[in-house]
Amino acid sequence: MSIAANPLRKHPIAKLLAGAGVATLLLSACGANPGTTAAPGSEAKDTATAFSLLTPAENPIIRNEFAALAKDQCVSQDKALPLKAETVAQSDVVQKITLLASQDALPVSFVAGTAQVKPTGDLGKSGLAADYEKILTDLGVWDNILPAARSAVKAAYGGNMASLPYQFNVEGIFYNKKLLAEQNIKEPKTWGELVSALKKMKEAGVVPLTEAGSQGWPITRLLGNYIFRSVGPDALKDVQEGKAKLTDAKYVEAAQAIADLGAADLFGEGITSRDTDTANAQFLNGQAAMTYNGSWMLANINDPKQNKIGAENVGFMPFPAVDGGAGNSGQWPANAGAATALSAKSYGPKVGDWLTCVAENYGSSVMKNQSVVSGFRLNTPVENIPPLTAQVQGIVGEASETLLWFEALFDAKTTKDAQTNVSLLVTGQMAPKAYMELLQAGLGKAK
């Protein structure tokens, strides 16, 4: 065929369309088919050949405890369906789960993105993540999940019991008792008292409030809590439902309060590039007076190698009240760690046996081995619990109302925008109103 006779050669647009057509055909073959998902428990046989467990590389708590259970209380389950632990970097979770799910290769239990497991999320919509409430109820072990933990999980994932509370974290402010006592500062009860205390600590030459600013979320947590204390516990739910906007005066006031902390240099030098290890070290070496963090920090506080100020010198207090605010300090921010979902397709009797064993033993085991507070009932009494851990355990048991975190109800992009731009907010490069406008615009686009 001569070049001139080739119609595709003569018409480049025809070539383009042909290419696009090929791509379209390929794409149509690529989409997931939600209709093929099996209902949990409907399979008589196990399809999984191992209890594959995918957890975040940065957090070894769950995989370490599963490994301990596999050698002790769950040894027969491990023999029937061997535990196979894998890890993924937290930042790659959404990407990895999207690809594994589209290839029908999800592990039995896996970490997933918060937005993915909600009813409107990709896993929630396609029914690929099992409902733990139904499964554990069928297995007769649902009572092993503490009521407060159940509600925290459901609140975070849009009503879905899409994860188990392998960690049940409450968040608050850890403070150095000795440093505060030296400056005659009592535990601050209000935001005003907290700011005064921080300013006093700065004058004393210590870092007043250290946070891992490079991560973004430790600072947006402060913003979210200020909003919960000033506007009320439903403040961010109202934003999600369109009853309020982040650009409303009360919400902008909260952003202003956090920007003011930065302007007064109360986070110390280099806040925007400070990582988690550095922030923890600053507090545990006695260089910083306070840090806002979750109860997962107890593992660092109870480790004498890391904690140079002594566990007895560390106090824990709730985020303070805001004068005239609708919230109060009895409302604790709480979460159940990263979403750890269960593959609906992989569920079978052997997986059920594993879940029964985990539900009955995980709580006591993780408390005994790692001093971690979980949302599972302690079926075996654990002795010699460190005092601060016992205090947190008491808070978890008594908490009547828990709060979510600032971005819990945001989509993935607005969450990222909130966490990356907050460094501009605390360094005065972005006005509080502009910051909230950016996030509100993001929420508007996501709807």
């Binding site: 290419g19 696009a20 090929v22 791509a23 379209t24 390929l26 794409l27 149509s28 690529c30 989409g31 997931a32 939600p34 790659d92 959404v94 990407q95 789960i97 999207t98 690809l99 799910a101 589209s102 990709d122 896993l123 919509k125 396609s126 490079s214 110390g268 030098e269 280099g270 806040i271 925007t272 590039s273 400070r274 550095t278 070290a281 600053q282 260089q287 989509d411 993935a412 992009k413 990222k416 925008d417 990356t420 731009n421 460094s423 501009l424 360094t427 490069q429 972005m430």
Partner: protein
């Protein structure tokens, strides 16, 4: 041999497998990505046709515009730096160090072989502030200046990124341009010298015009590489603070893998491809003149 190459079937047999492989691994993904620009969704949720909405969104997206401008700014500054420093070093190798340039060439080239992420972490430490103060701020303090939080602002991060990239890549461009300079015939140089051309005049009237082809290749190479900058800014400050140092590549990566929006991510990739194409075309066009004329 002429008989074999004159036979169309022989050519097909010889080229066919390689052409097929090239098509499969190069053209199919490109076409696939092009097709995705008209869809929204991801492999898990499925794809939904949405016409030219992604392109409209790209035009109206302030973050995309910010990423585009940063990409162009970074590319322009880095390319100028790479070519000027690389050419300066190459001239130094040829005219000053001459045969003794081996050691210097090796030392200056060395950072090129280091992984970018490792270099990023190195520069992060060099410019660190706070408890783990880096040598740069320590030096500023020693000279009586206060510390600078380089990574707290877009300009500071941009400055560090440029310094880092130039340190890492100037040795490579120096070697590339050095090879071009070695191709200039010694007789031409000698006759220019006899005619009285020395120093800057020799470089301006003889060396630059005669090394223009390799210089042009270096500019195209540098522009196309720096337009696709990714690991440098990711390792240094993750595109921050905010999204002030986020180039199009990182924005595309976040959109596809962070927000699971494959369609819009492909649209950003398409825009980047067009940009690379236009820049290359522009450089080629602007060089299509007779360089022997003044």
């Amino acid at each position: 041999m002429q008989n074999v190459l004159g036979d169309k079937r022989a050519i097909l047999i010889l080229l066919g497998p390689a052409l097929l492989l090239f098509t499969l691994i190069k053209l199919v993904p490109v076409l696939w990505s092009l097709g995705l620009t008209f869809f929204t969704g991801n492999p898990l949720s499925g794809f939904e046709f949405n016409g030219i909405e992604n392109f409209q969104r790209f035009i109206e997206d302030p973050q995309a515009l910010q990423a585009l401008l940063f990409t162009l700014k970074y590319s322009a500054v880095t390319t100028v730096g790479q070519i000027v420093l690389g050419y300066g070093l190459a001239l130094m190798y040829v005219f000053v160090l001459r045969n003794a340039s081996n050691f210097v060439r090796t030392v200056v080239f060395f950072p090129t072989i280091l992984p970018t992420v490792a270099v990023g972490l190195l520069f992060k430490s060099l410019f660190a502030v706070g408890d783990q103060q880096g040598p740069v701020n320590a030096s500023l303090n020693a000279l009586g200046f206060s510390s600078v939080d380089w990574f707290a602002s877009g300009d500071g991060t941009f400055f560090v990124a440029i310094v880092m990239e130039l340190w890492r890549s100037m040795g490579f461009f120096a070697v590339l341009l050095y090879a071009g300079l070695l191709d200039i015939p010694e007789e031409t140089m000698e006759s220019a010298r006899l005619d009285g051309a020395t120093g800057f005049r020799l470089v301006k009237h003889i060396v630059i015009p005669l090394s223009l082809p390799v210089l042009l290749s270096s500019v195209i190479f540098s522009f196309n590489n720096t337009l696709k900058v990714f690991d440098t800014v990711l390792a240094l400050n993750n595109g921050g603070p905010g999204s002030e140092t986020t180039p199009l590549t990182l924005y595309m990566f976040n959109t596809v893998f962070g927000y699971s929006d494959y369609g819009y991510g492909s649209t950003i990739a398409f825009a980047l491809t067009i940009m690379c194409f236009l820049v290359t075309l522009f450089i080629f066009r602007s060089s299509r003149r007779d360089n022997t004329r003044a």
